[in-house]
Symmetry: C2
Subunit: 237 residues, 2 copies
């Protein structure tokens, strides 16, 4: 196999750095093709990559040239190479839905946060970021490997497939303040967030309960992962 700069159409991808690579190995060892290690790698007290790979029967390869070629930063000493995969969402779980997410760091941060709040399922309405991009994986700190995700061509397709839940759409001109939403813990929910620049269009006002997070008029909007984090905190804790 060629080790080239990641592109969306590849059927494999990379984890950059120790932390996401360890998560990859522990979550789905069978999908790991190999682990590239820099000759400058120094074992950390908490985890040795060679030991870990040996335990899971994963091939390691010292290969500074390949690491340099595919890294976007200079400080990657460990890179996991793995087969991409597909999942489907669990209909018995609550979901996070991102409509056309555009920023990879934001998507990764949201994946990390939803994992932290005990959620397990992420729907992405296309077009949207490629969750297998190493930049998303890094921002997620490898949390992607612990969740289900699924892409949908449009929101209606998502909604038709999962019609057993309450839908909350987060919009600057939402009808209800998040503070006033009392959620029944026995009921499934989907929290829906729009694109960073454009938010959700007005059709989402009627897709469920539209919600705003109150903020001053000194800013245009909260940043997307912050809004999503606050919403998850409200619903999940």
């Amino acid at each position: 196999m060629d080790i080239k700069t990641y592109k969306k159409n590849f059927d494999y991808s990379y984890t950059f750095g120790m932390f996401p690579t360890v998560e990859l190995i522990q979550s789905m060892p069978d999908r790991v093709i190999k682990v590239l290690v820099s000759s400058h790698y120094k074992s950390e007290s908490s985890a040795d990559i060679f030991e870990l790979c040996e335990r899971f029967n994963i091939r390691t390869e010292i290969n500074d040239k390949a690491i340099k070629r595919i890294s976007d930063k200079d400080n990657n000493y460990v890179i996991g190479v793995f087969d991409k995969y597909e999942c489907v969402l669990n209909p018995d779980n609550s979901h996070i839905v991102l409509v056309n997410p555009g920023n990879m760091g934001n998507a990764g941060t949201i994946i990390r946060t939803l994992t932290g709040f005990g959620l397990n399922d992420l729907a992405i309405i296309s077009p949207g970021v490629d969750v297998f991009d190493p930049k998303v994986l890094r921002a997620s700190m490898g949390s992607l490997f612990k969740i289900n995700f699924e892409y949908f061509d449009n929101f209606d397709m998502y909604k038709k497939k999962f019609n057993n839940r309450r839908i909350y759409t987060f919009m600057l001109d939402g009808a209800k303040s998040l503070k006033d939403i009392k959620h029944d813990n026995n009921e499934l929910f989907s929290l829906v967030f729009g694109n960073e620049a454009t938010g959700l269009d007005s059709s989402f006002s009627f897709a469920g309960t539209s919600v705003f997070i109150k903020h001053t008029d000194r800013i245009d909007s909260l940043n997307l992962p912050i809004a999503a984090g606050i919403a998850m905190y409200h619903f999940c804790s």
Copy 2:
């Protein structure tokens, strides 16, 4: 003056992009030295940079070479050049305190969020990011120009100066869950957050009330701006 890549020791800095530059001009027109405009700049329906600068009597300069030299991205059509300044915190306000913040995007996001939740004062315990770095300014969406900020050599100096408030330190092993904190709105508070990688050390357990935001053990910690955003939402809304 020389237009060079920004360095911390400069007594001026830059706003990259239309949005932060407009915030700069509207918040503190007297500090603007000039505005660099790309020959590729196209007026937006919402704001024309030449019109705005004329209204505030600010010099504009078409200078693609300077923009290319100092930009970190290719899509900056407008750059504000301004004199840096100092502020002091308002003792009659509640504060956000960042201890040794290391990531510029995170610091900017936190500044944007605190502005959105009606806070106005940010303390930074050194060493920490330079809030005038164009990367912080961009992530803050220009919100920095609307708040007071002040650097302190250590937390004790901050605490001595502002002893009229309740202090909440956010730590993974905090004593109280955020959910259980009932804050009296008449009382000033300071919310204290540690560095991205190391958090707050154990001395902060006794600096006030130590607080944790409950999350699953499937992640090591919430990302710093997410934790800060959730805390501000809890205290300010």
